[in-house]
Symmetry: none
Subunit: 226 residues, 2 copies
């Protein structure tokens, strides 16, 4: 895991102790330019900024970190009780704050929550597999960032397959799970939809859907290959 950016340097012992206890790697800086210089290749994984020492400098740093091409996130602010009513809400400079002196475990819980939200993406419900992304809320699909124009059945089929990557499904199972219980359809129906899906996925990604001869179809790599 990439380190957390911590401000200022040196951080107060209580913060150091909390971060060490929770196992977060971190690196403290004093200035905005230092934050830029010492940034790891993969970027800071987040930031903890203490704002009850020098509020002006702290908020300036937050602003700088957020104004970059790739805004630093999540950003946790540590503030004193008296600063609460001054919290700038016009700009989006922080994600969560923690009151000083913080309770043991509170900072950890908040960071955990922030990382979870940042990672699992609380907002849209997504199905992702490699270059493929399905947004279940908007019924949109994209591969390599390019939107796919799928029909309803194509979308449902791809959704089902891609949410069980690696697993082989017979035509009968696909018919019953995607088309619905006891569907009186020929097996060719599945073949044709698979074909249309492959066509829309493009030549490059058509092989995301594998044919398993005499059995059915499988999406993505088998777990046992290699």
């Amino acid at each position: 895991m990439e380190p957390l950016l911590v401000y200022p340097d040196p951080p107060p012992p209580a913060l150091v102790q909390a971060l060490e206890l929770s196992g977060y790697p971190w690196k403290a800086v004093t200035t905005s330019s230092q934050a830029q210089q010492q940034e790891p290749d993969d970027g800071w994984s987040g930031a903890v900024v203490i704002a009850d020492g020098d509020p002006e400098a702290a908020f300036a740093l937050c602003r700088a970190l957020r104004k970059r091409d790739l805004p630093l996130e999540p950003l946790m602010l540590l503030i004193g009780p008296s600063q609460m009513r001054d919290l700038e809400l016009r700009e989006d400079v922080f994600d969560d704050f923690c009151l000083q002196p913080f309770q043991p475990g509170e900072l950890d819980a908040r960071l955990k929550h922030l990382f979870w939200r940042a990672g699992r993406g609380t907002r849209p419900e997504l199905v992702e597999y490699g270059p493929l992304v399905l947004n279940l809320e908007t019924y949109q699909a994209a591969i390599d960032g390019n939107p796919l124009d799928l029909t309803y059945m194509e979308y449902e089929l791809l959704k089902f397959l891609s949410s069980h990557p690696g697993k082989v499904f017979t035509r009968e199972v696909l018919l019953s799970r995607v088309w619905g219980y006891e569907y009186y359809g020929g097996a060719r129906t599945v073949d044709v939809h698979i074909r249309r899906l492959r066509a829309k996925l493009g030549e490059e990604h058509a092989n995301l859907i594998h044919t398993v001869r005499s059995v059915g179809y499988r999406f993505g790599q088998s777990r046992w290959t290699i």
Copy 2:
């Protein structure tokens, strides 16, 4: 402003005091079904759930509130210090939490931050999306600066759709959320209103409302965004 949902009923005096002091309207409930029954037409504006009394029931309520067609947001959890390490992060059931006993002002600051992030707190009287502006106070609508002459139902439908851009809604959901009662039969009703809306939006902007075949309708966000 629509009231906040508060659980349980009656809430502790400290919470009542804090909410009153900050000027949030609120309504307390004891059960999940009560929360559903007493929900205002425009939905709860958020929720404050006390989880250090009966945690099981509290989290069950949160889960229920999040699993609806339109997840309730923002959702604030009030917990005791001992509950911090049990915070369920596998499900997305809350947006922020506050440690009991909370400092005066902390709950207010957190709610303010949540509302700001949800995009409501600052200017709840306007809904904007691209060239479209709805003034909720005056019941006026305009596109490209030109006023739209909408009827009541058209306005309500457009308001609902445009305040959740990108998300697909089925006719059933639209009927229950916009018309507000269980509907007997007329899914065509939605179609016709969509058609009238598109007509009034003008040829240029009719495509703001997108048809998702076999599913429902989606407002805006024709471009792919993660």
